[in-house]
Amino acid sequence: MELTTIWFLLVAVLFTGYFILEGFDFGVGMLLPVLGRDDRERRVLINTIGPVWDGNEVWLITAGGAMFAAFPEWYATLFSGFYLPLLLILLALIARGVAFEYRHKRPEATWKRRWDAAIFWGSLLPAILWGVAFANIFRGVPLDADHEYVGGLFDLLNPYALLGGLTTLGLFLTHGAVFLALKTSGDIRDRAGALAVKVGAGTAVVAVAFLAWTLTIRSSAAAVVLAVGAALALLAGLAAAKVRREGWAFTGTAVAIALAVATLFAALFPNVMPSTLDAAGTLTATNAASTPYTLKIMTWVAVVFTPIVLAYQGWTYWVFRKRIGVQNIPQH
């Protein structure tokens, strides 16, 4: 396999990992005002992701770094082109991350309420905007012959991209609710499970519509299979949630997110950012790539360190595998 293909796959894998992991973090954050009826309940919700959210976010840092190293042109065009949405994502991630750490540092209700708002909006905005961004990457944007983005903000807010944003929003909400049903005990667990089924049903409709639209824009046999798989996984996950098999439900939503992201990447290949103007502007895995020497070094680093990272991060989830409920929240 060509090095550029390997790195296309690796970038896809890193973003997939990011969306699976931070997807439920975002979901938990958005459900904070919905499922957390009082402070103790909200603390239960936050503490389900407390030990892991930071490690989850590193998937984004790594994906961004990998994109920079392996496809500098893609990185440069994407981040300078999608300027304002990316800015909003960054501001949201800043507010949300600090909120987790600071929310419980003072006892006042106002203090906590403000950080709760930061967690909610800091989860909601990225949950929508990542969908908008990836739908636009896939659909294509105006790039000139130098691969520079020449569109404006409103070129990014087209109906297809907005449906993409709605899809990630729904998927992360469902995924987060399922995660909470898996990780909490008592009343919250019941409510989270019930909510997952409701939100999930609506999400399934949106997601199927989005994937169908996706395949009319650009398609391949693999993409069709992946899209069908994504829809089936989501439905299976919801069915499992309905009968309170939470482990399977979580597997279902995780696989659904993975396959949905994979659908986009599979149908996108070998392009990485198609141009809606002259085809010469289109960025591909070849013309956006670094030199083979750089890719070779990066491949070795990835081959050695990715399994190590997966091992210790997986172990973290094992350490914190226990469900938590209001009875586990300390008084102070």
């Binding site: 603390r43 936050i46 503490n47 030990p51 892991v52 959210w53 930071d54 490690g55 590193v58 840092i61 790594t62 961004g64 770094g65 920079f68 190293a69 392996a70 496809f71 500098p72 042109e73 990185y75 440069a76 065009t77 994407l78 981040f79 300078s80 082109g81 300027y83 990316l86 800015l87 960054l90 991630l93 800043i94 507010a95 991350g97 600090v98 987790f100 750490e101 600071y102 419980h104 540092k105 520079e148 670094s290 030199t291 020497y293 750089t294 070094i297 990066m298 990835a302 990272v309 210790y312 973290t316 350490v319 914190f320 226990k322 469900r323 938590i324 009875q327 586990n328 300390p330 008084q331």
Partner: protein, 477 residues
């Protein structure tokens, strides 16, 4: 914008944004780098001696560390994406080289740091003691390792090595990755930056410990605070010695690879041998005769070359040399900025070391200081090396100008061409506002938790009939 009387363009704002967000990010990084290791050392002391005062100090300083850590993490994300957003032509030019250390940093170091910090925070009752201790060490090692890769990337901008410029694409391409990682600028900047970070972390430990020693005399934990104060002071003294030692080597390397930066550090316009070092100058720094200056003869020659009579090239000679080499244009940084940031860096760092020395002296043979002046000095102490760190970076980066990659790409050519002034202004304003707000919040929290003092150690509940699933978490957000 014309109504301002001067022109602001996207390039200026992008530069200001980079400066503000980077200096801001680096207010938190030194504490993260230094405190992670120092807290790990405190926990190791507890592990080895079973003396509870070390456990109390671990938890106490650990809490301050975490308040700071969160800010470092979230402001770090901006750093990685800012290159693509505001400096996309730079990213296109150097991506083949510059992206690799950033990606490796994330994969090899940042994952380690972030995952194990979560294990450490929440793992007090979940992990065996030994493993819990290993978690803080893993996080601390990840943090320090991360600094290496970032500095290797930065060093490429100061002293590009291990590359060639492809004549067809006009882009820099990696030819020798080992050369990038063993760039002599990186090899010396790494220990210098780390030592500078420990200067900050040690100072914070002293400031908080000393406050409790003087103001909180009747505390049952005076013993612990005394230990912390002395421990922090020694950290400050040792690291300031290392800062000076590595800074000296840096000066010689800088004179070799970026002579203009060294000349700009002294506002030395004409080549001199021997060259003197001015402690301060009154009057303009434009090469005209100064009003007043305190000069130490031979010192600049010694700093730059190791020989008290060595030749140090002046700005004017370098400017004409660069004009011949790179074409017409100014190759001189803004001299007052480089001149004064260089002096503030050294002066503020030395001031912290001096306070540490006094603190140790006032604690000799079991004495307890009472001086209000010492208390005040102790409280400003962390700000001194922190500002010294900022000035050091301002010097390093402003002294590199007008280059973004020395000798290869001008800063003005690296900016994103398609990003409008409005967009950059929006992001600059947004970051500045959110950063300023968070700075106030963070500072107040640090003060609050520093004043609260070391925690009482509630004895672990005996293994009674309480079901594990019912037990409260040892730590919860």
């Amino acid at each position: 914008m014309h109504s301002w009387g001067f022109q602001v363009d996207a390039l200026d704002v992008a530069r200001w944004q980079f400066g503000v967000t980077t200096v801001y990010h680096f207010l938190f990084v030194p504490l993260t780098i230094g405190l992670s290791i120092l807290v790990a050392i405190l926990q190791t002391l507890w592990h080895r001696t079973s003396n509870e005062r070390y456990l109390k100090l671990t938890k106490f300083y650990g809490k301050l560390f975490l308040i700071n850590f969160a800010m470092g993490v979230v402001t770090g994300i901006v750093q990685e994406f800012q290159f693509g957003m505001n400096w996309s032509d730079y990213s296109r030019f150097v991506g083949d080289i510059f992206g690799a250390p950033l990606a490796i940093e994330a994969l090899v170091a940042f994952f380690l740091e972030s995952t194990f910090i979560g294990l450490w925070i929440f793992g007090w009752d979940r992990l065996p003691k030994r493993l819990h201790l290993a978690a803080i060490w893993a996080a601390a090692i990840g943090t320090n390792l991360s600094a290496y890769f970032i500095l290797a990337a930065n060093s490429f901008m100061q002293n590009p090595v291990g590359y060639r410029v492809n004549p067809t694409t006009g882009r820099a391409e990696l030819t020798d990755f080992l050369a990038v990682l063993t760039n002599k600028v990186a090899l010396v900047t790494f220990p210098h930056t780390l030592a500078g970070a420990f200067l900050v972390a040690g100072s914070l430990i002293v400031a908080v410990g000393l406050w409790h020693v003087i103001r909180n005399r009747d505390s049952a934990d005076t013993d612990a605070y005394r230990f912390a104060t002395k421990f922090g002071s020694w950290v400050v003294l040792v690291s300031s010695a290392l800062v000076l030692f590595t800074g000296d080597i840096q000066g010689k390397i800088m004179t070799d690879v970026q002579p203009m930066k060294m000349a700009a550090a002294e506002a030395l316009y004409t080549t001199e041998s021997p060259a003197s070092f001015s402690v301060l100058t009154v009057g303009s720094l434009d090469g005209s005769r100064e009003v007043f200056a305190i000069k130490i003869p031979y010192l600049l020659s010694f700093l730059g070359t190791g020989d008290p009579n060595g030749t140090v090239q002046g700005i004017n000679d370098l400017q004409s040399q660069y004009t011949a080499q790179y074409g017409a244009g100014s190759y001189t940084p803004i001299i007052p900025v480089t001149y004064w940031s260089f002096r503030f860096m050294i002066g503020l760092g030395l001031a912290a070391a001096a306070i540490a020395l006094i603190v140790l002296w006032t604690h000799r043979k079991g004495r307890t200081p009472r001086s209000r002046w010492l208390l005040r000095a102790g409280l400003v102490m962390p700000a001194l090396p922190l500002l010294a760190n900022s000035f050091g970076w301002i010097f390093t980066e402003m002294g590199r100008q007008p280059w973004i990659v020395f000798g290869e790409m001008l800063t003005r050519n690296g900016v994103s061409r398609t990003v409008s002034l409005t967009e950059v202004l929006t992001s600059f304003t947004a970051f500045t506002l959110i950063y300023a707000t968070l700075a106030v919040i963070e500072f107040k929290l640090l003060v609050r938790y520093a004043k609260a003092g070391v925690p009482d150690l509630t004895p672990a509940p005996a293994d009674d009939d309480t079901d594990d699933a019912e037990r409260p978490l040892a730590f919860a957000y």
